[in-house]
């Protein structure tokens, strides 16, 4: 029996042959078959793509909007009361793990207040309302750390830009603080902020895995974890690339 | 021992700009181009020039802090530019360096005593007592009190720090000290003290100096001979008095004329030199100085002038001045003569 399976999977061939076959299949669009589910990996992933893409893009949107505003606000009145509150929030947001935030949210907003469903996922095809309803808590949970991170980066790069000579020039020629902050500073700090956000995407994905577990969302994160636990290598390989 | 203490032959350093795996020719910075000179025991040779002319690179090449692109550096006839690591290690003892910035050239975590005895400890093990005796001795040599050995650099003044730098260079009893702008970071009054210290040390211990500076006032005070560099090349090398009394190369002339002179009776030449120093990435053809030279002729645009020995023992690289005042230029223009000491 084992011999038969080995033969079927081509595991008896030398390593280079196996590798070349794998690359060749990939180029043809055949990403392999899940050993565990017995179905093509690509099909498995396609099924799971929507929840993950929904969750991560919504989180990205919320975090960038809130994070950049918080960071700008903190930089605007550096070491003032607003800055202190926001810095404290950012330190806290960094320190609370996403799944702990998740359970707190579930307990208070879903179990006690019954405002939103406890867990699960509804595809966007079944109505925007249900989709949003199921995604609110996961998005908030996942956003906390990310908002803290983006706020920190924004504040740092804004302060750096604000101390440049051309900012003093802008102030000297009488630019309003609104124009200073948004027209001159944020535009220049923006590139740096975007770069860091791009690099930290990996950081977000790590959180997605945990969030999907807490809220029982059938996404790619769960798929990867299950694949690893089942040693389902074809699935894991494609997911991580 | 016969021959000069230090002999530099056709020393060249090009810095490639970027890595050129795919391009056939990458642009290079020609920092030092075909530089030759020698230094006798107990002598002071000054190298002068504007910033960016390659004089600091020459110092770093002599110490082999950077690898030369071409040429040889001979100490007592041994080429240190080709030495392997271990042999080089031994030769470090003959030649030491004093750095420009007395702040960043001292490790701020170590005490004065640790700093100045470190070179010796690289070669031999010292007991605590020996180390203290050595530190006290070195500090006394540079005019500091031995109690200073426990201080950190941050507790010392700029002049005291530079004395430490000199003490560190003296630790190995070198025959040659290279001083790269050793006083230019100091106040004028402290500059004089340090220069006098160097002169005293030279008289007592017979140390030779290669002194790199942009300050002609300082150079005139201490130099036996002066080499003038422009865009990586030596354009004139002459005994100090001769150079200051009668500069030959038009660039030297301009430099000497531009330097403030404390003697009002001395006649001052007015030599206008216009424009900026050209880039060493893309130096002008022929004589690098020709775009700014008031005397430039057709030939200066085409041929690099060789260093031509003149009657009073100097060498000059100028198509206009050198053939007219000395011997005629040799037929092959691109070979440079080793200047006579």
């Amino acid at each position: 029996m084992i011999v038969g399976i080995r033969e079927k999977l081509g595991l008896n061939d030398p390593m280079p042959v196996q590798f070349i076959r794998w690359v060749r299949d990939m180029l043809r669009g055949d990403f392999g078959t899940s050993i565990f589910a017995g179905r093509p990996v690509l099909e498995l992933i396609a099924q799971r793509l929507e929840p993950t893409v929904s969750l991560s893009s919504l989180t990205m949107l919320v975090s960038v909007m809130i994070g950049v505003s918080f960071g700008t606000l903190a930089a605007w009145r550096a070491s003032g009361p607003i800055d202190r509150v926001l810095t404290a929030f950012s330190a806290l947001g960094f320190s609370v793990p996403v799944f702990v935030v998740g359970y707190f949210l579930v307990y208070f907003f879903a179990m006690q207040a019954h405002w939103v469903p406890v867990q699960g996922y509804k595809p966007i095809g079944q109505g925007l309302g249900a989709w949003i309803e199921h995604l609110i808590l996961p998005t908030v949970a996942l956003s906390v750390a990310y908002i803290a991170f983006i706020a920190r980066i924004t504040r740092a790069s804004m302060l750096e830009v604000l101390s440049e000579d051309y900012m003093r020039t802008a102030a000297a020629k009488g630019a309003s603080s609104y124009a200073m902050l948004f027209h001159h500073a944020l535009k220049n700090a923006g590139v740096q902020i975007l770069t860091v956000i791009g690099i930290s995407f990996a950081y977000l994905i790590g959180g997605v895995v945990l969030t999907e577990t807490v809220f029982n969302i059938p996404g790619i994160g769960r798929l990867v974890v299950d694949a690893i636990n089942n040693r389902d290598y074809p699935v894991f390989r494609v997911c991580s690339s | 021992m016969n021959g000069p203490l230090l002999k530099v032959e056709n020393l060249t350093k090009h810095y490639p700009l970027g890595s050129g795996i795919f391009k056939k020719s990458i642009p290079v910075i020609r920092a030092v181009e075909d530089v030759s000179f020698c230094v006798e025991a107990g002598e002071t040779l000054c190298i002068v020039g504007e910033s960016g002319c390659g004089k600091s690179t020459v110092a770093r090449l002599l110490m082999r802090l950077v690898e030369p692109t071409g040429g040889r550096v001979l100490i007592d006839g041994t080429d240190i530019a080709s030495l392997k690591k271990d042999a080089l290690h031994a030769w470090r003892r003959r030649m030491q360096m004093v750095f420009q910035d007395p702040y960043s050239s001292l490790n701020r975590r170590l005490t004065a005593g640790q700093i100045i005895t470190e070179p010796v400890e690289n070669f031999e093990r010292l007991s605590r007592k020996q180390r203290q005796a050595l530190a006290a001795d070195l500090l006394r040599k540079v005019g500091m009190s031995p109690e200073m050995m426990h201080r950190l650099p941050s507790e010392l003044s700029g002049g005291q720090r530079q004395r430490l730098g000199i003490a560190r260079a003296l630790a190995l009893n070198p025959s040659l000290i290279i001083a790269d702008e050793a006083v230019s970071a100091l106040d004028v009054s402290v500059q004089a003290q340090i220069l006098n210290l160097l002169l005293e040390l030279q008289q007592q211990m017979g140390i030779a100096f290669v002194f790199i500076s942009h300050d002609l006032g300082v150079v005139e005070h201490i130099a036996h001979r002066v080499a003038v560099m422009y865009l990586g090349r030596i354009v004139e090398l002459a005994p100090s008095e001769a150079l200051f009394a009668k500069p030959v190369h038009p660039y030297t002339e301009a430099l000497v004329a531009a330097a403030p002179v404390p003697d009002p009776t001395r006649a001052r030449l007015e030599v206008p030199v216009e424009g900026e120093v050209p880039s060493p990435i893309n130096p002008p053809s022929g004589c690098a100085f020709h775009p700014r030279c008031p005397l430039a002729i057709e030939r200066c645009h085409i041929e690099v002038p060789p260093l031509v020995p003149m009657a009073d023992g100097r060498v000059v690289a100028c198509h206009v001045r050198a053939p007219a005042m000395g011997m005629p230029a040799p037929a092959v223009a691109n070979s440079s003569l080793t200047p006579v000491a």
Binding site: F94, S95, V100, F104, I228 | G165
Partner: protein, 262 residues
């Protein structure tokens, strides 16, 4: 320095756990999912185990794994960073690998590493340390690249110092402040990763009480006994916060100018 004090307190509490905390593994089928009481301060879990005792004992695992992973990452990162800062060819190869490692999410990389061998505390520490190493290596490398051009390093070379001595005496000390600050960040991140892995069921083996394990095994009972999840969750957050605050404090200490920024 609130962070440092808080962390010391946590370490003492964790070390002293056997003296006062009670038994973390004893099961009592008659006292399942009890609310907090005088006997069991945080109540009991689904197997009737004392949540307070388990939380306190969980601190030991979290702190141990966090500190050891951070130490491993710092040490290996330091080594790689110093060599990369000094050797061009090593730099080109190894830093590309480091960049590659950095682009993989920490948790996934750790899971993949653990899946190669199976669970265990030792492999857990290694699996957490490996994804954290590149950040340390990068930081150390940048410090070394900055310091190696400094005149006092050149002066040491001129004085005949050999490379190992230059590295040890003149370059390594300059990396210490940055290394300590980064070490705190890595430690916080490592504690979070450990909890996340245990929560996913691939971290600390389930028979050992750890905060991630406790939350994972109690997730179905959130509505009935919220303390089973909140107690370890809050402890986890406070611990990570303490380490993060310590890191911030260290940075302000070593680089007062950076205080205004970040």
């Amino acid at each position: 320095m609130i962070g440092g004090g808080l962390l010391m307190l946590l370490i003492v509490l964790a070390l002293a756990a056997p003296i006062y905390a009670g038994d973390p593994v004893n099961m009592d089928p008659f006292k399942r999912l009890q609310p907090p009481s005088a006997e069991m301060w945080f109540g009991s879990d689904n197997l009737g185990r004392d949540v307070f005792a388990r939380t306190i004992f969980g601190a030991r695992i979290s702190l141990m794994v966090g500190l050891l992973s951070a130490a491993c990452a710092a040490l290996v990162g330091l080594l790689i960073g110093v060599v990369a800062g000094y050797s061009r060819s090593f730099d080109n190869v190894v830093m590309r690998i480091m960049d590659g490692l950095m682009s993989i999410p920490t948790i996934l990389l750790a899971i993949a590493l653990i899946s190669l061998t199976g669970p265990g505390i030792g492999i857990l520490i290694v699996a957490i340390a490996i994804p954290e190493t590149p950040a340390v290596a990068r930081l150390v490398r940048s410090v070394v690249l900055g310091v190696r051009e400094r005149p006092y390093v050149e002066a040491a070379l001129c004085g005949g110092a050999r490379l190992p001595k230059v590295l040890w005496r003149h370059i390594l000390p300059s990396t210490v402040p940055a290394l300590m600050v980064q070490g705190a960040t890595v430690c916080a991140s490592a504690i979070l990763t450990e909890a996340g892995l245990s929560f996913l069921g691939v971290g600390v083996p389930p028979e050992i009480p750890s905060w991630g394990n406790m939350i994972a095994s109690s997730r179905l009972y959130l509505a009935i006994a919220p303390m089973t999840i909140f107690a370890p969750g809050i402890c986890l957050a406070v611990t990570v916060l303490a380490v993060n605050l310590l890191g911030d404090g260290l940075r302000d200490l070593f680089d007062p100018r950076a205080k205004r920024r970040r």
